[in-house]
Amino acid sequence: MRRTLKHGLIATALLLAQAPAAEAHIVAIRLGDFYAGALHPFTDLQDVLLWLAMGLLAGSLGAARGRWLVALFPLGLLAGLALGARVGTIAANPAIDAVIAVVLGLLLAAGARVPTVLLCVMAFALAALRGAANASDLAPNTDRLLFAGGLACAGYAAITLIMALTLAFRGPLSDSSKDSSKDTSKDWRGIALRALGGWIAAIGLMMAGLAFAS
């Protein structure tokens, strides 16, 4: 358990260490377009919240369902980025982001057993949406391949680490072999995850309020 906690802390620290690098443009000047692509989503609250919500939901459903997102999520980001770059900037819609946050939060709070196929479709669609939103900061002189590579790597690393940390938090019963054999949602860890889902839904509601008010 201590070993798991240690690994978890390391992974969390690595993830959080990227957050303070707030200005993607400064990063682009200093470290180039790959790192600009990798850090750009962490400068946007919508990306941070929605990626976190999706990772928590997928992780809470167990390894067998969540592991598909390791590949699908970065692919969705790439598809969305390509679409956004090709058809022009697709302005991110705060209302849609807020609704997605509410839905993901409620699913997590309710402990819904989302089927694998539906989870994959949701994750791909969300990633595509956010990938397109990230295309908004592609400047004419941005190396698009490097930016896309950075974004996909960030998506892969973030979703993989969040899902694994969620699984580790839930404990051994969330292993794939025991995935559906016993409902762990009633122990304190499951309750904590569901409470977190409630918070995400609440943040989504506030975002929706702000979006409709402005």
């Binding site: 992974a11 690595l14 260490a17 390894a63 592991r67 790597c153």
Partner: protein, 325 residues
Amino acid sequence: MIDLRYLRIALLLVTALILPRALFAHEATLGVLEFREVRPGAFIGLWTMEPTVGADRVDLKVPPHCFLRLPELNCGEKGLVGQITIGNLGADMSAALIKIIPLKGEPRSYTISTANPVVTVLGTDAPTIDTWLELAKTYINYGIDHILLGADHLLFVLGLIWIVNGGWRLVKTITAFTVGHSASLAATAFGLIGVPERPLNACIALSIVFVGVEIVKQQRGEIGWTARYPWAVAVTFGLVHGIGFASALAGLGLERRLLPPALLFFNVGVEIGQLAFVLLVLALIWAHRRLDAVLPRWGEALPAYAIGSVAMFWFIGRLLIVLST
């Protein structure tokens, strides 16, 4: 062991798709500006190495009490003391060396880079504690940037992690790599050894080809040199990579008296960047284990060939550069 192979496949494939762009990752775009004091507080500035962006387009900003219209710089009685920066650092000019030759005392050099866009020019009382702090800030950042942008160094480290497969052996191997590159970095910086940069870059690419071949051997069940003596391979190729690190420092034209601390801080920066990369890879390996996320067996051989292909691409490209000069 088996459950990790597909993580490595995924990591290396992603890396292999992106890394060919980094062929010229270490080609710096530098400029060198020399200010020579002709009377107290008055300087004549001259670009001894003009940046590729063009000297006229450099947005040089000097302390507020100074008046600059190149080639003239007048700072009055207060002298040239304070902050100097360049407003338009970027891809066209990643760093500039400012050399100041005063009427009295030793010439001084300051490096303005994207990692450290503002330098503080110190008075004739330097070196002081501020000098050391300034050096630490500049060169730790420069070391971190250099390793993070050095895709070839990171790919080599990734190959070592692949072959050694975690645990104390990995700690020893990475330590051996650190010892190797630190030793050759210091030896090169102090002029004890000297290797031309371009052939060296080709050799660095070859070292990654070697690691790729070792991975293929391991997959075939053969025990290669790296699997048998990982620390020896790491320290040997660490020596080669360290000379490459030194070439980055050499381009900045440091004062000799400031070289030891600058070298130390640069190396600390390189280690910080390398450690962050190793920890990230280890965290992802742990996450894949936790998720039991593995790919089909048919793709097992792809990454080793991808790593070898990318490295060969670099090698051929760098060899062509050597032959064309």
